[in-house]
Subunit: 361 residues, 4 copies
């Protein structure tokens, strides 16, 4: 209904009596409301956050603020790229978090889904989820799903940094749902599982009764198989990408692209609200396309540019950039590049509203 017509309000003579009645009773004529719809939220714009800038910021924040000084409920030291009201987009939030040697980001849980993608990782930097300590090695992706306790403990001697990705703007700004939040009574939740437990239980064997039981943690109800706590090791993901490149054709728009699966279903999306792709670009520029989903990218390695409309977003390792909905875009890696692609496509697919096309030439 977003059409560039002459302003309909001016064309239409409602009597002043009618106007008075409408106003008195909190009513408006559709043709006026219609014209304004689609403006309630800030639109995201194509943009890139360079790692050197982000790094400067997080270093300064780390110097200024020990985690322990942050008030309860806010004890995460994160720099947040801002593009819409409170995040990089209206659905996906990304932040860059640091934990200094010896520090702990204390245990809490919430309704929003989250994951960590390790940038400066370490074997002894642990994210503890649902009773298991997950080591955060470089490029590992660790889920901290809806309503699971999670804390981040740096037992190494180096500052660790990672990408946080949550569906916060969707949950808090775009839907009427209230996020639910709770602090653990302890700074660190008890470790109750042996290392590798969650991985092993969502691998090739599953307890028979568990298949498709889909019980959702917390006070929540819904129709989707919940995502388990899980660590996606980068080595395995990279091997799968290389296998794909050795045996198959690339996707014209996304290159050799594998979507992280929800381990409980063996299929993407990783969360009901967000999907994540490891994308290997090594066969020149991709073909342009557009879609009504938002795409946020993190550069795992390599350099290049992504063309969005008339703009070129130049990127290199560890940069973050965004491709807004409905903008024509394609990627041009300099040589070989690997991206972490993040998209809210599952939100649109949940309502049969996803649409994608190539520009007519």
């Amino acid at each position: 209904m977003a059409q560039s017509e002459p302003d309909p309000e001016e064309l239409l003579e409602l009597s002043s009596e009618t106007r008075t009645i409408l106003e008195e009773h909190s009513l408006r004529p559709l043709w006026e409301v219609e014209d304004e719809m689609g403006t309630a939220l800030d639109d995201p714009e194509a943009d890139v956050w360079k790692w050197e800038d982000v790094q400067e910021a997080i270093d300064h924040i780390e110097e200024d603020v020990p985690i322990a000084d942050l008030p309860p409920g806010f004890q995460r030291r994160v720099a947040v790229p801002i593009n819409t009201a409170h995040a990089i987009s209206n659905s996906i939030y990304v932040g860059i978090q640091t934990v200094s040697p010896g520090e702990t980001a204390p245990s809490h849980r919430h309704g929003a889904n989250a994951l960590r993608f390790a940038i400066d990782g370490h074997e002894d930097m642990k994210t503890v989820v649902a009773g298991e300590e997950f080591p955060m090695r470089n490029n590992d992706l660790i889920t901290t799903p809806q309503w699971e306790w999670h804390d981040h403990v740096n037992d190494s001697d180096e500052t660790a940094a990672w990408l946080d990705v949550l569906d916060l703007p969707l949950v808090l700004d775009s839907m009427n749902a209230r996020n639910v939040f709770e602090n653990h009574e302890l700074e660190r939740q008890p470790v109750t599982k042996t290392p590798g437990y969650w991985d092993s239980q969502y691998g090739n064997g599953r307890p028979e009764g568990d298949s498709g039981d889909g019980s959702i943690p917390g006070p929540f109800e819904g129709i989707r198989e919940p995502t388990p706590p899980y660590r996606f090791g980068w080595d395995e993901m990279l091997e799968a990408l290389r296998q794909r490149a050795d045996n198959d054709e690339p996707d014209p728009h996304d290159g050799y692209s594998l979507s992280y699966v929800n381990p409980a279903t063996g299929s993407p999306p990783l969360f009901p609200t967000m999907t994540f792709r490891a994308q290997l670009l090594n066969e020149g520029p991709t073909d342009p396309h557009f879609h009504n989903a938002t795409e946020v990218y993190f550069v795992i390695e390599g350099e290049g540019a992504t063309h969005v409309g008339d703009e070129a977003l130049e990127w290199s390792q560890w940069d973050v950039f965004i491709v807004p909905p409905d903008e024509i875009h394609h990627h041009e890696p300099d040589d070989e590049a690997i991206l972490l692609g993040m998209s809210d496509r599952p939100v649109l697919e949940a309502f049969n509203f996803y649409a994608e096309a190539e520009p007519s030439s």
Copy 2:
């Protein structure tokens, strides 16, 4: 994360250098952003729109504006209850539409899902959808699903009025999707189906190949079985309610309550974004509960009040009222009442975010 703590910003001393770096690079510390989240959209408030007021308004609009004078793309004469930016809520839109004798609301289609619930209906008031003329008798509910052509033709000699319900705020204001809209080249789409066709094809018999094919009309993709064009006759719905009352216990919060099914699946919700219930209240007040879904009600018949927090919304026939998310509420019919309950619960369930509880006593 919405906690009423002391403003964290004041507690935290970021150096002015850090502040400068953050601002320069469109970055913000999480603890500040977190505090502001959940404020991007207007919150709906409990309220009631009395039919006498609505009627006064739609009568005046009808007098002032023939449909034919409205500009293309806006040719619907509707009074819209306003409670949030552009609608009664952040997910569900309702409007009260009139078509005068001899008038046509011309044919168009769009991405948003819609239905009509006939208030002042008539056998010769027709909503034409997907090639079939659906008569709009009182209390009939007619779907005009995503991307199906629809026009409204009043061949009777009385003004017809009905409730329009769409997921417009969700589609246009709350998600990054752009609604897609198209006018038909004709004012009235061709009638290509015999009367009763769509009903008969989604009744007790289905073509074998069609089961679960789930092809979605238009440019859209998704994971939900699309809703067909369909007319839910009131007589059958009322009979089912009476059967329920004769044979079963009422739901403690919703009374004898039957949800309109998606005829393609035999199960609610009617649309992936909205569910609709016919609710018969005749056993005194219901028990209080609250949930993070929005509820909008239309009073089909009877009188009573709905208590929302400390407020009592008094209602009688054809009034519209809203119960905002997370407000404790219960219904008190004077005697027997029948409500059309509308809810965005499917939106929350699509992401495992629905939550419901009784107040702890």
Copy 3:
């Protein structure tokens, strides 16, 4: 592995010592076993049971045996077409049952799924299922699903006759499952529901919580939405067929064909083990095809022939005939005919084993 090769046993010289060892330990070489497989059950052959013959038989049985004389657990007076070991096929059983005026076929329940299709029906001939009396008018189809109590009570003054269809051969002869059977302590189960109850609860409205709960009655577990007790009135089914004929193209092999839906899912098959189609043939001969599903037909009205391989099965009203798996077949109605088509296709589809093709010309 059924290939017409020379007998492999003769080609292969196993030493007598090897033979002895194999026999001693209940072992056999695969190449010998392989050759014999597929012979454990009788294959069904194309055949037709003429109504005049069936009628003569059921009249004689009715004269000879009052239901009351039959021993408990066998109190159904039915003539069963025999084509394989114990039924018309290896999956679908049909029988023709009569109940004389004043008689009752007493209440019981079992694991096998059943339906009744009324031949000589009557408003006062009742099948009681799950607490509701369902009138058996001509051509009505009434489900008595797995583990639901059912009794047949003839309160009219005429003998009633109907087609029983069950998945008994599959359950009892072809799978290792034991059927479970129980007699009700009463001859007639108590009527606890008002007439029309089950129909109304699986129509256009459904209790919200029930959607997809799929709880299976009895001691059983499984992955399919169970079929509810339900009466499919013929008038509605016929109207849907006529609508199809007025608006759509016929299926090349089945004519205008609508499959009875499982009312709980809005989609075929009616039972997890059997699908049922109302088929209107009025546009000349259908195209030949073949499939590995068994088809059993009941002629609702009209005359014609079905060609199966080289054979022509001539049929008229109320005849029963069978098209065995993998036989090429097509239908030739004399003028207009309506068939009830029954198939075990869901059994094959449950394991991805269904296959269908047209003969190469």
Copy 4:
């Protein structure tokens, strides 16, 4: 309907005229047919096949018959435990196959699903499926799903032996489906994939478009997500079992038990017709139970006995034994044992016919 009543036939006096009519028209009274049902197939009996006996047999067969001498379509050298007409049970077939150094079991494909569980395996003993060479190390499980080409090539210098498991009796003897079978034009299918390809594509990443596409190979149609070609390495499975034992309670009837998942769904069953469990028994005897599914076991390691009714099946490494439907049974390992449990439970669940209970004490 299997009740031990007095023979109803004797109780009922059908006139000789009625008998003549029935016989003439291939009709029988239900009460007679009912009594005979459930006898068409041989019932399996509890039994054990000791490895030493099996080994003696396969050694002799290997000596007597080179694979190359077997006729086309029968070129597998397998000893088949016989308990029903053509297999160990009416649903699951097991065989013990050998391939001598330098031999190839040539490439073919068929409708039945199969897997290999390596007993005497070797890195250079390869099962080639869908273009990839899968090494058969001890206890590896390799799928050769419906309609995928497969050949077995022994490039090692030792005879290899493994367990073949197929759903042949179900497909060929118990359903009306005809198995479809085809020999490859080459003895060895071309190797077109790099080692590890299939594993990598059904691991943690999946191409987005592939999720849930469920396209079934060959001429087949159905409703189940097909199983991909896949090798389940034993190390990973054993680790998952140990993790389970370290962190969870055992199942009372099956011990620490993990079911092999269909990698395309992340859930059991491995095939639509058969499920497979790795079971670690190390906490004494399990509790008795019974179910209408057939269980076949292969002893991966350890010794013990399984009590079936009054019988004790004593087993040690590499023995095969069967627990027939509806027999009360429990396992008693001597110390620690690991079993491969195989069950046709999915067949029963496909039709809501699975039932399981503990004996009433």
